[in-house]
Symmetry: C2
Subunit: 344 residues, 2 copies
């Protein structure tokens, strides 16, 4: 009978009408506002809310408060455990604070990152996390940098979890040192000829890891190489191992720029009848679940922490100037795919 007015299903207006109070009062009790409300009224509102199934419109709220409670994370590929673990870190702390986590796959392509970034800006994401590394001298980086700058001007927090060419606070690991430490460990095991499979060409992370490897070799007075092309995938790891098998003599050890690469290589090696670690030691980098599952030596990068720390920062809104950088510790994780030279 009295049903044909306006309030939408589950809206504040409906609750207010039900409870016979103003929309403002209803809002006050439903938002633990500090504004005083009579106990009796509060109760009526609460009941009405329950009755009509009140569900606050986060959209409307975001519009007026200018806080969307949305965090965007731009990853290369959510299926890659590297990015999945980061995302998990973000979502865990985000959800606990009532934030939404939006994942955007960019396939490591700058122009896609750009596109995703635009959408995130449109949705007034409070923070955007660039999970992946950038490219050295990326021509497309210009435009992205501009976008990031604009986002910051609009109050968004932009963070990156790897080296990037645009200005923004970073949460990273020292890839160079990580690769150095791993190589050094292999050397300490008595290995002399240590091969390396690279990451995607041009990526800062790839370059840094390669540099760390080269530095450790040089410092030990060892000649580096062979070095193979790679792109963080199983397939290229596999291919590199095949090429290695075709070469003169098998090296003492092999390092892949990430875990997946090394697993591809190990598989090829084993299929060719090579025993690991007896015939050759193999190690990866990152320590994703893959490494653990295959009991592979690697160096741990605190992925989950990356995400958790980033989310925390976005939520608390402390963006300490645009230029700071926090370096999280990496850690060598020796497992069964490496052993002392001439292995037991």
């Amino acid at each position: 009978m009295s049903e044909r007015s306006k309030p939408a299903k589950g809206s504040l207006a409906e609750v207010a009408r039900q409870a016979g109070v103003s929309i403002a009062t209803a809002s006050r009790v439903l938002n633990q506002s500090s504004h005083p409300v009579a106990e009796a009224t509060r109760k009526r509102v609460l009941e009405a809310a329950e009755a009509v199934g009140y569900s606050p419109s986060a959209l409307a709220r975001a519009l007026v408060t200018q806080r969307s409670r949305i965090i965007g994370v731009i990853v290369g590929d959510i299926v890659d455990p590297y990015f999945a673990e980061i995302t998990r870190g973000i979502e865990d702390v985000g959800a606990k604070a009532g934030y939404l986590t939006i994942v955007c796959n960019a396939d490591r392509r700058t122009e896609l990152e750009e596109e995703q970034m635009r959408v995130l800006v449109d949705y007034h994401a409070e923070g955007v996390v660039f999970a992946g590394s950038g490219y050295v001298n990326d021509p497309k980086g210009e435009e992205l940098a501009r976008l990031v700058e604009r986002a910051r001007e609009r109050g968004m927090t932009v963070l990156s979890l790897a080296h990037r060419d645009f200005e923004c606070p970073r949460i990273v690991v020292d890839n160079r040192a990580a690769a150095y430490d791993l190589t050094d460990y292999l050397i300490s095991l008595g290995h002399r000829r240590i091969a390396f499979i690279k990451g995607p060409a041009g990526l800062y992370a790839s370059e840094h890891r390669l540099e760390g490897y080269l530095a450790a070799m040089e410092e030990a007075g060892l000649e580096p190489g062979p070095v193979f092309e790679g792109d963080f995938t199983y397939d290229l790891g596999h291919a590199a191992a095949l090429r290695m098998l075709g070469g003169a003599e098998l090296p003492d050890a092999l390092i892949g720029a990430n875990d997946e690469t090394s697993i591809g290589a190990m598989t090829a090696l084993r299929q060719a009848g090579v025993s690991i670690p007896e015939d050759i030691s193999v190690a990866g980098m990152t320590d994703t679940r893959l490494a653990r599952f295959t009991d592979m030596t690697t160096v741990n990068i605190p992925l989950y922490q990356f995400g958790a720390v980033a989310a925390r920062r976005i939520i608390t809104g402390e963006s300490d100037g645009a230029g700071d950088e926090v370096v999280l510790p990496h850690r060598l994780v020796p497992r069964s795919t490496t052993t002392r030279r001439g292995g037991r």
Copy 2:
């Protein structure tokens, strides 16, 4: 000088002012509205938009159009490749249509799913995808079902990618048949004693897979077992294998309820000096990247398709009644971890 009025940075209002047109006109050109606009005006608006860096507020737009362009996906754990691949499918087709994909980790706990669902409703997600399976006779299912019902009443599309106790369209695979086919394959290879490691207790997916295995055994006149407890994790797969090793005699073959479980088992087996597939054949289920990386026999479930199909349905808004179910095909994928009985 004339700077101290109101329009926000990058807003329509600002563009309109810059271009010297009404906000309505600006909106029209910036939204490929069918409404006619003079070419000259259009150009001015476009230029102004470019100049001020116009970025439409998706939030405001969503509020008025009642379309948020947000898709939520509730997963057990985004790090699990099972869910990651589904999410990738959703995001790929979603992004192409300008949709945002929100991931919510629920750790397979109904009460967390409920909580996540609430947030998604608050944000007026156009669609919600329940990626994981539900529990048989779940007491907490009641409340979730109510929530889902309410969501649907509000126009949201709710889909599930596995068996669920609430009413909603489903996109699934026949888990029973998948397990049956795999078991049958092993039998055809000459195996007689085939062990099975279960999935998480009470999950429909677990039950169905177990049933398929049991049915195939029975139909072949074989006595099933041993059957071990499991929960889709590497650790329990590993533990089950250990227990199996402690038993009298090794079975001919072993099936894990998912890939990760089987990999855990294989690792334990190999560490104990057991050769796969010579001493025992091992197979998993799902065909995640893990299976491919370890060259393990498994049965493929089209995860990416699950996501893609679900997203497509949400976007096009064709939710064909609440009760339909589309069954996607599974496919046996024989690889190197299984071989004919007494294998070469």
